[in-house]
């Protein structure tokens, strides 16, 4: 979740220009990062494969995007998951704009970071130990505000060879998330601000 931008800045500083953002994954936390192939090889055919934490070959499809309607927590959850997928699997502007409002501060804050992920051939993913808690604060005609508690374990920047470039440990973090609806009734992330 890119708007978690303070941590993003930390990573930017730590990596001297190689960026970050926020990527979350539903995969179980692990202290060592297996390569994607290893993840796949340990999975039996009768059990659903865990979603790779990251990828470089466009082999991982995006999560289903729920961006219409009034189920704001689910919409926000979907947009955040999609944005995580962008950072971990497909850091492109076009993918970014599926989930993020054009011209918003969050878009401005993450666009250059996505470019750096792409140019440096890196990916960023997050690991959590529990699902996010999302609560609607309020909604108006074309905007909605939510409070999101993320149970973040770590945020990892990794290169194509599977080397961990940087990893930040984190704990429970609370964010205010703002959704903006366009005139075609599609919702986008407009701001993600850390409040604790």
């Amino acid at each position: 979740m890119w708007g978690r931008h303070s941590i993003l800045v930390m990573l930017v500083l730590a990596l001297a220009g190689c960026s970050s953002g926020h990527a979350r994954s539903a995969a179980a936390p692990s202290t060592t990062l297996p390569p994607i192939a290893s993840l796949a090889s340990t999975t039996s055919t009768t059990v659903a494969k865990p979603r790779p934490l990251y990828s470089f070959d466009n082999s991982v499809p995006p999560p289903e995007l729920l961006n219409t309607g009034t189920d704001y927590p689910r919409i926000a959850e979907s947009l955040l998951a999609y944005s995580d997928w962008v950072l971990a699997h497909q850091p492109t502007d076009s993918a970014l704009h599926e989930a993020v409002a054009v011209g918003s501060s969050i878009e401005k804050g993450i666009e250059s970071d996505i470019r750096q992920l792409r140019e440096r051939d890196r990916r960023l993913y997050e690991q959590t130990n529990a699902p996010d808690n999302l609560r609607l604060i309020n909604a108006t005609a074309h905007a909605a505000a939510l409070r999101v508690v993320q149970h973040l374990v770590s945020r990892t920047l990794i290169d194509r060879d599977g080397h961990i470039v940087d990893r930040l440990s984190a704990g429970e973090t609370t964010f205010n998330v703002l959704l903006s609806q366009d005139s075609n009734d599609r919702w986008y992330l407009a701001a993600v601000d850390r409040v604790s």
């Binding site: 704009h97 409002a101 054009v102 011209g103 918003s104 501060s105 878009e107 604060i137 309020n138 909604a139 108006t140 005609a141 074309h142 905007a143 909605a144 505000a145 409070r147 205010n176 703002l178 903006s180 366009d182 005139s183 075609n184 986008y188 407009a190 701001a191 601000d193 409040v195």
Partner: protein, 266 residues
């Protein structure tokens, strides 16, 4: 037979009543031994805001997003108010959203069409309304400074009870105009504190204290106000009603405490 001689070292401290309204709320009012300070706590702001300082805390968090598509328009284009019917100017739509910093709630949700001033150039995002700051709103509230009522009134005696109290306040109406914006609202007292020197503060409108040492002691009485306000203004498409946080008005005064000593003489 022994005679008891009481030596009273008395210095009478004359203190002007601090009952008047707290002027501009802009800081400290010194009146010999009485001073008043106002601090505001506001969600999202880590440390209390001192109204006497030149800070300018924004009331809302703003977000602006560009509309990328709109039915009937081309890629977010719109038609702003025209000044010359013979020369139609197109614009770009922006979504301007204001959020209450206290709660995160959306309190302003407006689409704004920004004219394209030069062909082929996309206009920049509009500036959000420059609302009055939190400091300006609280200064406009003209919060009264709390009285400090003491018994004994002018000086205390070591070992004896000193009663410290303040008069409860009622809710206040806020009505002000700041830079073209109209602020109307309510400030409600939500708590009182009484503190002597560096002792822990008591949350009450009255307290008893026994001074153990003579000399000048510091007594602080604070009133915590909670404010909500509605803003209207010429560049606001809709009124904004928000929480403006809590303001603590503290009156501080020095209090002389004397010692009464019994001296035995033959």
């Amino acid at each position: 037979m022994r005679r008891c001689l009481v030596i009273l070292i008395a210095s009478i401290l004359t203190i002007a009543s601090p009952a008047g309204a707290y002027g501009t709320g802009g800081g400290s009012v010194d009146n010999d031994h009485v001073s008043v300070g106002v601090t505001v706590t506001f969600p999202g702001i880590d440390s209390p805001i001192d109204l006497s300082k030149g800070t300018s805390t924004q009331w809302l968090d703003w977000a602006v997003a560009r509309e990328t598509s709109r039915q009937g328009d081309l890629n977010g284009l719109c038609l702003p108010p025209q000044t010359d019917p013979a020369h139609v100017v197109l614009g770009v739509l922006f979504h301007v959203i204001g959020r209450d910093r206290a709660t995160g709630a959306v309190v302003y949700d407006h689409w704004q069409c920004v004219p394209i001033s030069a062909p082929g150039q996309r206009p920049g995002a509009p500036q959000p309304p420059q609302l009055p700051t939190v400091e300006e709103a609280w200064r406009a509230a003209h919060l009264p400074r709390p009285n400090i009522l003491l018994d004994p009134a002018t000086r205390g005696i070591t070992g004896l009870d000193t009663r410290i109290s303040t008069e409860p306040e009622g809710a206040l109406q806020i009505a002000a105009t700041v830079r073209g914006y109209t602020i109307t609202g309510t400030a409600t007292p939500t708590g009182y504190t009484i503190q002597v020197d560096d002792e822990p503060a008591t949350t009450a409108t009255n307290a008893h204290f026994v001074f153990e040492t003579k000399g000048v002691h510091t007594i602080r009485v604070g009133v915590v106000w909670h404010g909500t306000a509605t803003l209207t203004g010429p560049d606001l498409a809709q009124p904004i009603t928000t929480d403006i946080g809590d303001a603590t008005v503290t009156t501080t005064r020095q209090y002389q405490v004397n010692e009464i000593r019994s001296v035995l003489q033959p």
